[in-house]
């Protein structure tokens, strides 16, 4: 099925099955491996991307249902120029294994776009769908507060 998809500002013309989840389109067809496979059933959040600013689980989002522009971890900053959230993650040394952190950061970006200065409870509620088996939650919470502060200043 011919599909036109915009990812991180780049338009792609794809010929893929419409039921292929966006996760595998990104990873296997477009080579954007920053977005991770964790569960395939929208219960761990490792695959989180944004569609028109909304955080979605790409593992259960069929390609045919994607209407808006897709943003992945790769668009939130680069190793040479990390974004505000990524810098806060680095400053707080959040990642351990790091596998869930793309999804965590993309989810946090959607949160901060909606709530520029969230409380602990608001952070917890927004991040509850993102699992981390390394137990980095306390540092994630601190990093989100720091990023909120940095973004508020700039």
């Amino acid at each position: 099925m011919a599909t036109r998809l915009t990812v991180n500002g780049t338009r792609h013309d794809l010929d893929l099955a419409g039921d292929m989840p966006l996760l595998w389109v990104l990873r296997d067809a477009l080579g954007l491996t920053g977005t991770k496979y964790g569960c395939g059933v929208a219960s761990c959040g490792a695959c989180t991307v944004q569609i028109d600013g909304q955080a979605v689980r790409s593992c259960v989002t069929p390609l045919s249902s994607v209407q808006g522009a897709v943003t992945t971890i790769e668009a939130l900053g680069t190793p040479d120029s990390p974004g505000a959230l990524q810098q806060a993650w680095i400053d707080h040394q959040v990642a351990q294994c790091g596998y869930c952190q793309s999804g965590q950061i993309v989810q946090a970006a959607a949160l901060l776009a909606e709530m520029p200065d969230p409380t602990d409870d608001q952070i917890d509620a927004a991040m509850a769908g993102n699992l981390c088996q390394c137990g980095t939650y306390p540092r994630i919470r601190a990093a989100i507060h720091a990023a909120a502060l940095a973004l508020g200043r700039s």
């Binding site: 971890i73 351990q96 596998y99 137990g135």
Partner: protein, 746 residues
């Protein structure tokens, strides 16, 4: 391009080119140990198995699996400390599988000593025995051993390389070596002349290494401080390459289904529907399962699930009840071990009040965030493998055997691991991926386990049963007599690795139970082995994961039977046995403001466990809320002897606690018709940000020897929580998971 890109390029160069030819040079340490596996390409020089120098600078080899525990960062710091590199100059790679990278501390971890009472002589003996690691291909990341293994060896490797570089500079400048020093990756003379290591490496490689002296702790620049993790930038920008992220020209993607009744046969299968799906290349008959190779992972997953398969039964009892019956029956046979027998545990001391309890814990999955996967390409040159793993030499040998190759024809890359927790010490994933790739020679095939396939083909933390018998008198414990029955993790894992497991008493079954620093006057611990073919394996903190729960829940029962404060009761028993263990109890008492009293609606529990060389005490606080019980706070104190990277230790202690709490609250694998009933996070969940406590960590440094940090945070978590819940509700949970006994807020 930034440093991350440079590292990635180097890694590739190292894998593809640099080890294919050229010269290698030895250092005394390496010559003594095993051949240097680094075979540098043109322009590269290997000063030892751990230090590679080329025109762009120095690359350090950290041949331990980075699965989140920060091992490569601290390992590199050990080398860089003595090699006088600035932190921004440090680059690190995992390197190839090699005997030179054996783990000298893991053998010592298996010795039957109690751990907390190690004398100087025993420490030396363990160090000497560590050399056995090289003979048995023990390049293994596990047992919280990396720093104990590398602490001296890597500083020696760094210092040796430094002295070789200085000697080369002395020759070139016609100066005495004592007039030279090193700084920021260069040898510097008194007149200010600077010779970068890269300019000296080729000469230095020809210089005979001399014995070196290590710098005193007071002169450390990097060690003892929190260093920025070398993998942090990549992991926060989506650019870190995990095994599942390997992308190669022309590659294909596969997924598989093995018999969920693990070890059972496959009677027949019908793949006609799968074969008809667009994008499917090949169906691979694996004998006890089937794989599909396809254009992409999604197609492979969809196709493999479309195959109709007739499975044979499991070679173990079919359901949970029958499996636990078999574990119970293990108590009927003679004990496999009596690793502790102080005083007389046969008779109840006069006038003492007896306490008897039976505890049971379930099987647990590892549930690493990155599902199992491996990429393999078989060609005329041999086999190239990309697989996150904790045991490269075993993986290489098993895959070589599978492909009918010599081990030297197998190139194994070890990328970042999205969690390990013990699961990636197994060789099954690499072997199956090799077999699948053999169906498509010349093409790289990445095999990805679905989450369900991952969870249903784990090597589980075994279910276990403990029969606890104790007694108190005048406010003190006078008897502690534990019997524990479980399947034998060590025997299974060693058999899978090397085809052989030594008979005799098994330490793992009773680890965390027989070797606790408590001065019970009558103290006995016996282990019983359940003969079960349910796959079991190493799970973060291994035997201590269940035995810490048994020990510390039962000590709490004894404290309450004695009408004593649970923390003071422990201190009384520990103080004269092991000062660092008393120290961590003192610390959590102070940190938490422990009074022994909690207001209505609040509960607190304490637990202590000495494991992997490190005593850890935890206090956990729970609160009854309208939405259910919340785990609100945790205080952790550990004594690691020397804190090489305090920030990383704090992260490991926090992570170890949360992993332990996740299992305690929700973790349970049950079986029906031989298959694990849980397959994904909705039925095997973990703590989320909403349910995780605030955590404070204090690191003490009074222990005589360096302790591990990756695992010791896990064992006290379950009992500290269960004890807090008892304080809150009066209900003593003797089985896990706790969600079966209590209503938690989600």
């Amino acid at each position: 391009m930034g440093r991350a890109g440079t590292i990635a390029r180097r890694t590739f160069l190292f894998g593809a080119v640099a080890i294919s030819g050229g010269l290698a040079f030895g250092v005394w340490q390496v010559r003594k140990d095993a051949p240097n596996p680094l075979k540098p390409g043109p322009g590269d020089t290997a000063l030892s198995a751990f230090v590679l120098i080329d025109a762009s600078g120095v690359t350090l080899i950290a041949p331990r699996a980075e699965m989140g525990q920060g091992v490569q960062t601290t390992w590199a710091a050990l080398l860089a400390e003595e090699l006088d590199l600035d932190w921004h100059q440090v680059r690190v790679i995992h390197g190839p599988p090699a005997k030179a990278y054996y783990n000298s501390a893991l053998v010592a971890e298996g010795l039957p000593g109690k751990g907390y009472d190690t004398s100087g002589f025993q420490h030396s003996l363990a160090t000497a025995l560590g050399g056995i690691g090289k003979l048995v291909d023990l390049q293994v990341t596990g047992g919280s051993t990396s720093m104990r293994d590398g602490f001296e060896r890597m500083r020696v490797a760094g210092a040796t390389a430094r002295e070789m570089l200085k000697a080369a500079a002395a020759q070139r400048l016609a100066l005495d070596i004592t007039q030279l020093r090193c700084e920021s990756g260069a040898v510097v003379a008194r007149d200010g002349t600077r010779l970068p290591y890269a300019d000296l490496a080729a000469d230095a490689a020809g210089i005979a290494p001399q014995a070196v002296e290590l710098r005193p702790q007071s002169e450390w620049r990097l060690l003892g401080k929190t260093m920025p993790r070398l993998d942090m930038l990549a992991k926060c920008t989506g650019t870190a390459t995990f095994g599942i992220d390997i992308r190669l020209p022309g590659m294909r993607f596969a997924s598989l289904r093995m018999n969920p009744a693990q070890g059972g046969a496959m009677r027949s299968f019908d793949a006609s529907r799968a074969e008809a799906l667009p994008g499917v290349d090949t169906i691979v008959d694996l004998g006890t399962g089937v794989a599909v190779i396809a254009s992409d992972t999604w197609t492979a997953l969809k196709a493999v699930n479309a195959i109709e398969i007739d499975w044979g039964p499991a070679p173990y009892p079919a359901d949970t009840a029958a499996i636990f019956d078999a574990i119970t029956q293990a108590f009927d046979a003679p004990a496999n071990s009596t690793m502790r027998d102080d005083g007389n545990a046969d008779t109840l001391p006069d006038g003492a009040t007896p306490v008897d309890s039976v505890y049971t814990v379930p099987f647990l999955a590892h549930a690493t965030m990155e599902p199992m996967n491996a990429t393999a390409r078989i060609s005329a040159e041999g086999l190239e493998l990309w697989c996150g793993n904790q045991a490269p030499l075993f993986v290489r040998r098993h895959c070589a055997d599978t492909a009918g190759l010599d081990a030297e024809q197998v190139t194994l890359h070890t990328p970042f691991m999205g969690g390990g927790f013990g699961r990636r010490g197994e060789v099954d994933v690499a072997v199956l991926a090799t077999r699948i790739a053999m169906a498509l020679p010349g093409t790289a095939v990445q095999t990805v386990w679905s989450r369900e396939e991952d969870m249903r083909h784990d090597f589980y933390r075994p279910g276990a049963i403990a029969r606890m018998r104790g007694a108190v008198s005048d406010g003190n414990a006078v008897l502690f007599d534990a019997q524990v029955a479980a399947p034998n993790v060590t025997a299974q894992a060693l058999t899978r690795w090397s085809g052989f497991a030594p008979p005799g008493p098994d330490k793992t079954t009773v680890d965390g139970l027989f070797n606790q620093p408590y001065g019970f006057p009558n103290y006995r611990v016996r282990g019983y082995i359940a003969d079960l073919a349910v796959p079991v394996g190493f799970w973060r903190s291994v035997g201590a994961s269940q035995n810490g729960f048994f020990h510390e829940s039962f000590v709490d029962e004894l404290a309450h039977a004695a009408n004593a404060d649970p923390l003071a009761f422990r201190l009384n028993l520990v103080r004269d046995v092991h000062a660092p263990s008393a120290g961590v109890l003192d610390a959590v008492r102070d940190m938490s403001g422990w009074t022994g009293q909690t207001p209505e609606g609040v509960g607190r529990g304490v637990a202590l466990c000495h494991s992997f060389g490190t005593p850890v005490a935890q206090v956990i606080e729970v609160r009854q809320t309208g939405a259910g019980i919340r785990i609100t706070d945790a205080w952790i104190a550990c004594d690691v002897g020397t804190a090489l990277d305090p920030g990383n230790i704090e992260a490991q202690m926090t992570g170890g606690l949360i992993y332990g709490l996740s299992a305690a609250v929700r973790g349970e694998i049950t079986f029906d018709e031989g298959a694990a009933e849980q397959g994904n996070f909705p039925d095997y969940d973990a703590l989320r940000m909403t349910s995780a406590p605030r955590v404070q960590v204090r690191i003490l440094e009074t222990s005589r020897f360096l302790g591990g940090v990756g695992e010791p945070g896990t064992p006290p978590a379950a009992p500290a929580l269960a004890n807090a819940l008892f304080d809150l509700t009066g209900i003593r949970a003797r089985t896990l998971p706790l969600v079966k006994h209590f209503a938690f807020a989600t």
